[in-house]
Symmetry: C2
Subunit: 337 residues, 2 copies
């Protein structure tokens, strides 16, 4: 089964390479700025920041900001600062998330909190958030500030909601998607929307990029949820089953629970609500997901959001940046293969 | 010994009443806005926010914003939003501080973290910070945004510094004052400075209010440090000795340590670095502070900062707001009596 998006009207393929290529020169400046703004006389701050940077992911969010600005013909400097702000917001969220989730590993590496403690993670997260706002203010676009500050509040609200809903098997698919919308999609949406904003594009262009980012974020998170039950630890650099062991109720769990009989429902409640989540339970969880097609159903939903993202960016003028934004949608979904 | 500031050229007395009076009508709107912006469909958020509001302190920081705007002839609405932002920044800091310090009580009431847990405190703090930035952005003053976002980064940087320096008796007075400057004085300074900024006042007026706020913040914190060893639990609504039991190295500790003999120095290291901080140790700590005049010396420094604050606001045109800003300086220092 191919999971590539069956849109086909534009010649793109599932790859992050075009995005790396178009954003490369500006991302070099983003990375410099990140290092500079993570600098401090307080040793602990650059120490933790460098740990985060070196264990770093793909920097997908700041690349979206760069590419979406370029796709709208932007030629100034502000996209670099905004991209660095977006990455700092993301990093601050990760630091606080790891404290809240009591995570010991992220992408197969020790989390900051296991090395430096919860206290440092909370405070360095706050520092990075403060630096993010400083950079945004320097850009001087009130519209961009509005978008990013709103995202910041929405992300935190989603996290609190997840905390209160966590470990309750009564969480519905709609409930869960509302959390994903807030926790993950809001920052993707903001990262993409500030591009046309600083390029001086119109309301329709802003809306299109916002929809693109949001849909991509939703697809991205659902694929992540599947990978946590299906990817191999070596490939992903992330221990399969992390979500399960942390009692995180994600879409595959919800769908398997809803399709299960009474005995299976009891298993899920024991596992997610009462922490019976050892290796044996994980194996059973995976087996139930496969039996009820919960992973495939999650992928189907991810693909549908991916198609929405693809459609939202398809009307952009044909440029390498446009094609990069399209290819990365397919890439994000194809990760699951 | 009177601790009132011996300036005398203006007829003010140590009181918070004039500040409460001049800021009263606007503070009613600030409080409404705080409740509205702490609202959320996520139940936990208003629950925690109401706890913080009901256990609330004097709202000194937002009152400074209101009074300093009025003292510069401001007649618009922006000071209300900025004052609410300042209070949210402060509240978010308190929530995170309690997690970092593992505090169980604040002003004699259970802290949010003891009721709702560290996780909720971290995330609700993030939410309030996000809402603070949203309100600032709505005001639309880039200068005010710059001041407040810089303060946000400085506060967090100071907290991290304190974390790395915490429990080291080698902390010098200068080290400690740098932390107070960042942790406490930066927000007082920002709260006061945004007043003239939105009133369209000049650079000299901004600088004067910044100095006023900073000096008041320094004085305020030093008096707090003294109260923690000298105030009575009933009067202050705060358990005397909290700082000591949390191993917080404040100025009275530093001064007593520096003046102590080898045996006393060993006592302080045991207490602050190794957690021998029971009731008996606290009694000895107080006794050593009195023997070496550490509390009086701290008050002397607080008074000197108070005089600087008083001087910075003295040149304002004579209005009830100006007098309120002056009276509250004396009030902050007189708390120690």
């Amino acid at each position: 089964m191919s999971l590539a998006i069956p849109v086909g009207r534009i010649d793109t393929r599932a790859s992050i390479e075009p995005l790396l290529a178009v954003s490369g020169p500006d991302m070099a400046r983003v990375n410099e700025l990140i290092l500079a703004m993570a600098g401090s006389n307080v040793e602990l701050i650059p120490e933790i920041a460098e740990h985060l940077i070196s264990s770093g992911g793909k920097r997908l969010r700041p690349m979206l900001t760069i590419a979406s600005a370029l796709a709208h013909g932007y030629t100034g400097d502000a996209h670099v600062k905004l991209a660095a702000s977006v990455e700092f917001m993301h990093t601050a969220t990760l630091l606080h998330d790891d404290v809240v989730d009591e995570s010991d590993l992220r992408r197969g590496k020790k989390t900051a909190r296991t090395i430096w403690g919860n206290q440092a993670s909370v405070l360095v997260g706050d520092f990075l958030l403060g630096q993010a706002f400083k950079m945004m203010v320097e850009v001087g676009s009130l519209a961009a500030l509005h978008i990013l500050s709103s995202a910041s509040a929405v992300i935190a609200e989603g996290e609190v909601w997840q905390l209160s809903a966590a470990k309750r098997m009564t969480t519905s698919e709609a409930d869960y998607m509302a959390v994903v919308d807030a926790k993950t999609a809001a920052l993707f949406a903001a990262a993409a929307e500030v591009g046309p904003v600083i390029a001086g594009a119109g309301e329709a262009e802003r809306l299109a990029m916002r929809n693109y980012g949001r849909s991509l974020g939703l697809a991205f998170q659902l694929v992540d949820d599947v990978l946590d039950y299906g990817g191999s630890s070596a490939d992903l650099g992330k221990n399969t089953g992390d979500d399960f062991r942390e009692g995180k109720i994600t879409l595959p769990v919800i769908l398997a629970y809803q399709a299960g009989n009474e005995e299976e429902k009891a298993f899920w409640r024991e596992a997610m609500e009462h922490g019976r989540n050892g290796d044996e339970a994980l194996a059973r969880a995976k087996s139930l997901m496969h039996r009820h097609g919960a992973l495939d159903a999650t992928i189907t939903r991810a693909r549908s959001h991916g198609e929405a993202a693809y459609a939202a960016a398809s009307n952009l003028p044909r440029t390498p940046s446009r094609d990069a934004l399209l290819s990365v949608v397919e890439f994000c979904i194809d990760r699951v293969n």
